[in-house]
């Protein structure tokens, strides 16, 4: 039997009746919600879900939000929710799913992602972190360096890809692991970036031992597993829902209205152009959501991240200029390690600099344009010679 919206609404109301948010500790409420299958309704029973259609999650979320129920701080645990969980669900053993999904969703265990390396960014499959099996101990021994790791300093677990066979071409010979961030040999160093903050980390892995039970998917099949993770990352980056004049355009429009002294004709034309583009991007995202809800997923999702990256950069650039002398001032270069990225609570200069990452993180715009061109438009791939060459023979 497939559950419908009415069933989920009834179950949500039962949960609220049994655990009134006002009289229940947030953690207790979240545990009850997970156990009632209302965490991810499309997940199986016993793993936070009910096997219901994914689109009906909105029914549950809307009802809980209206009732003032606590959430699990999704921004803080976004990597776990958006990347680790769907991958573990797709590829994990029953034991792994039961061990990891509940604390992940509750926010008791924060996750980070150990994919990118200094020598393997957009060419992620070229990664060089090695994992060698110690057959006697039934453990893998991992050595290498990862970079651009959000939340590594707060994370309890990491999803990790490492090379387990350097003699085969680069997309083969990769294996996917669940790595304990508290294991000996894991060292996390802040990576200070263009904004002055260290929102990301470098992670050095030296003789880190990972039990074979924490391998996700088959040995050498890690690239297929990683693709599941990356697809979910892009969906979550491009999928935010905005009201009209939401997002980066909001503070610029507000400054324009409130401070007539800043206005010039040239800035006006740019502002209007970007206001229109932001509204069109909002409508495009809305249309994509309507397609998904109607069960007709379109390829537009691949494009939303590209659009928002470009818009955020242009809008924040305009904002710095609009502010005139104030645009010359930066709020604070002190090195900090924020838990989440805050785009709207900060100054224009910060937004301008941070937005530079939007076209790099989660797949550079150049790579995403290739994906659109090849998978959506069906254009041929560029000739390449790395697909059949053993990884150890590639130029690095």
């Amino acid at each position: 039997m497939t559950l419908d919206a009415a069933d989920l609404l009834a179950r949500t109301r039962d949960l609220l009746a049994a655990h009134p948010p006002g009289a229940t500790a947030p953690a207790d409420f979240l545990r009850a919600r997970f156990d009632a299958g209302l965490a991810w309704v499309h997940y199986p029973q016993g793993l936070g879900g009910l096997g219901a259609p994914r689109t009906l999650q909105a029914v549950v979320d809307g009802e809980l939000e209206a009732a003032g129920a606590p959430d699990n701080d999704p921004r803080r645990i976004g990597i776990g929710l958006g990347m680790a969980a769907p991958t573990i669900l797709a590829y994990g053993t029953e034991e792994q799913k039961h061990r990891f999904l509940r604390p992940l969703w509750l926010g008791e265990e924060v996750w980070c992602q150990l994919f990118s390396e200094p020598g393997a960014g957009s060419d992620l499959a070229a990664l060089g972190t090695r994992a060698v099996l110690d057959e006697e101990a039934g453990e893998w021994v991992v050595d290498g360096q990862k970079v651009w790791t959000s939340s590594a300093h707060t994370a309890r677990w990491a999803i990790l890809i490492a090379r387990t066979d350097p003699t085969v071409p680069k997309h083969r010979g990769i294996t996917y692991f669940l790595c304990d961030m508290h294991a000996p040999g894991v060292e996390v160093r802040p990576l200070r970036q263009i904004t002055g903050e260290a929102e990301f980390n470098e992670v050095f892995l030296t003789g880190v031992r990972i039990p074979d039970a924490h391998r996700l998917g088959a040995v050498g099949e890690g690239w297929a597993v990683a693709r599941t993770t990356l697809m979910n990352e892009r969906v979550s980056i491009g999928g935010m829902r905005l009201p009209r004049e939401g997002g980066m355009i909001a503070p610029v429009a507000a400054a324009w209205r409130e401070r007539p002294g800043l206005r010039t004709h040239a800035l006006h034309q740019r502002l209007l152009g970007l206001w229109v583009e932001a509204e069109v991007a909002r409508l495009t995202g809305e249309r994509l959501r309507q397609q998904l809800a109607a069960g007709q997923p379109g390829p537009e999702g691949s494009g939303m991240k590209l659009t928002f990256a470009r818009l955020n950069q242009e809008i924040s650039g305009l904002e710095v200029e609009l502010l005139g002398e104030e645009g010359l001032v930066y709020e604070d270069w002190t090195m900090r390690r924020p838990e989440t990225v805050d785009f709207t609570g900060r100054d224009a200069g910060y937004r301008y600099l941070r937005a530079k990452g939007n076209s790099i993180e989660g797949g550079t715009s150049e790579i995403l344009l290739n994906i659109v061109a090849e998978r959506v438009l069906g254009l041929p791939a560029e000739p390449r010679d790395d697909k059949d060459t053993p990884w150890k023979d590639l130029a690095r």
Partner: protein, 382 residues
């Protein structure tokens, strides 16, 4: 990301906005596309355009009466299909995709909207709408194609008394195909049989939408509405026209993208398919993004018009500010990426480029519509 709360006087988006295509709309699209595939292929469009009489009366008859496209905006009680702007938008997408030389935007959208708004003033307008809805006659507004919503209306023609009109209107689209012209005079809106007007066709940039200077020399017409009703009717029609033109621009851009992608997949240079070069792939991927966003903007405008949403003027201005640029860019990329072939007369790319560029002036330029956005969104000029 957090959002600003709605501002006073700042139009809030409507709650249910439907940006998809319904099953009925898909069926309508299939019917129109199939007709155009049979009767309106590019070589035939070009051949007719070269005769100076681009309109194909047989095609128009099948589209207007056979498929019932002419009466989509007309209520059933006036003999129409009682559909709406969403359906008319789908027809326009297909007409844009075929650069079809038919008086649909001028007759079935602009003239129809004007007459519907005047139909309560007297039976004459209602009678005309009935004829128009079933494709028995073609009626177009005697207004410049560049006239934009929100812009001042041109000086009305002079009525010497009793509906005897004199004056000149330039850049009237599809006048050469019209049986009746709708004329804005100082005494209101008049219907003038086209054979009582003197038409001077001009050589149009867009070969598929002919233009003429219309001169009335004491031509007798029938008064349909008083000046205030007439002006309001024209203003409303210009809003609808601009909103639905976005769908024509979308269809045109889709054709350009599809054709260009197909060409680059098959064309080989340097011993590779041209479409495998990253520089070209990125351009096409960006164009695809533009077309996908134009689709959302055009659908939003059609839906806003169909539901008479309070923010329809803003949604239409956004759609026009965006879609006219996308159509021109798509057509320009189509010409460039076809290489030398794109510069030839025999390849249809030029028909699309000319339509796209002319469309970017029709019913207000993108710059004009951005100015309207400034008003609606309260982002005033310095």
């Amino acid at each position: 990301m957090t959002a600003l709360p709605p501002r006073p006087g700042h139009p809030a988006p409507r709650a249910p906005i439907d940006l998809l295509y319904s099953g009925t709309e898909d069926e309508l699209r299939a019917a129109v596309r199939s007709l155009l595939a049979d009767c309106c292929e590019p070589a035939a469009v070009l051949a007719r355009a070269e005769t100076g009489r681009p309109h194909d009366p047989q095609l128009w008859h099948t589209l207007a009466a056979g498929i019932g496209a002419a009466g989509l905006l007309v209520p059933e009680k006036l003999g129409g299909a009682g559909a709406g702007h969403r359906e008319a938008a789908v027809v326009l997408e297909e007409l844009g995709r075929a650069v079809a030389p038919v008086p649909y935007l001028t007759g079935s959208v602009l003239a129809t909207e004007i007459l519907l708004a005047c139909a309560c003033d007297g039976p004459e307008a209602a009678d005309l709408v009935r004829e128009l809805a079933v494709g028995r006659l073609v009626c177009v507004p005697a207004l410049p194609l560049t006239l934009a919503p929100g812009a001042p209306l041109p000086a009305p023609l002079h009525d010497a008394g009793g509906g005897v009109l004199s004056g000149t209107v330039t850049s009237v689209a599809d006048a050469v195909a019209a049986d009746v012209l709708l004329v804005l005079a100082d005494t209101g809106l008049h219907a003038v049989p086209a054979d009582r007007a003197v038409l001077h066709p001009v050589v149009p940039l867009d070969l598929t939408r002919p233009l003429a200077t219309v001169t009335l020399e004491a031509a007798a017409g029938t008064r349909l509405a008083d000046p205030a009703t007439a002006r309001a009717a024209v203003a409303g029609a210009l809003l609808s026209g601009a909103g639905l033109l976005a769908s024509e621009q979308l269809g045109l851009a889709e054709w350009c993208l599809t054709e260009t992608v197909a060409y680059l997949r098959g064309r080989h240079q340097f011993n590779r398919p041209v479409g495998s070069f990253q520089a070209l792939k990125h351009r096409l991927a960006q164009l695809w993004l533009d077309v996908a966003s134009a689709r959302a903007a055009a659908r939003a405008a059609a839906d806003a018009l169909a539901t008479a949403a309070p923010d329809a003027p803003l949604t239409v201005a956004v759609a026009q500010a965006h879609c006219s640029g996308v159509a021109v860019r798509a057509a320009e990329e189509c010409v460039q990426l076809h290489g030398g072939i794109g510069m030839t007369w025999e390849h249809p790319a030029h028909l699309y480029l000319k339509r796209a560029k002319a469309d970017s002036l029709a019913l207000g330029t993108a710059g004009h519509h951005r100015g309207l956005v400034a008003d609606f969104a309260e982002l005033p000029a310095p």
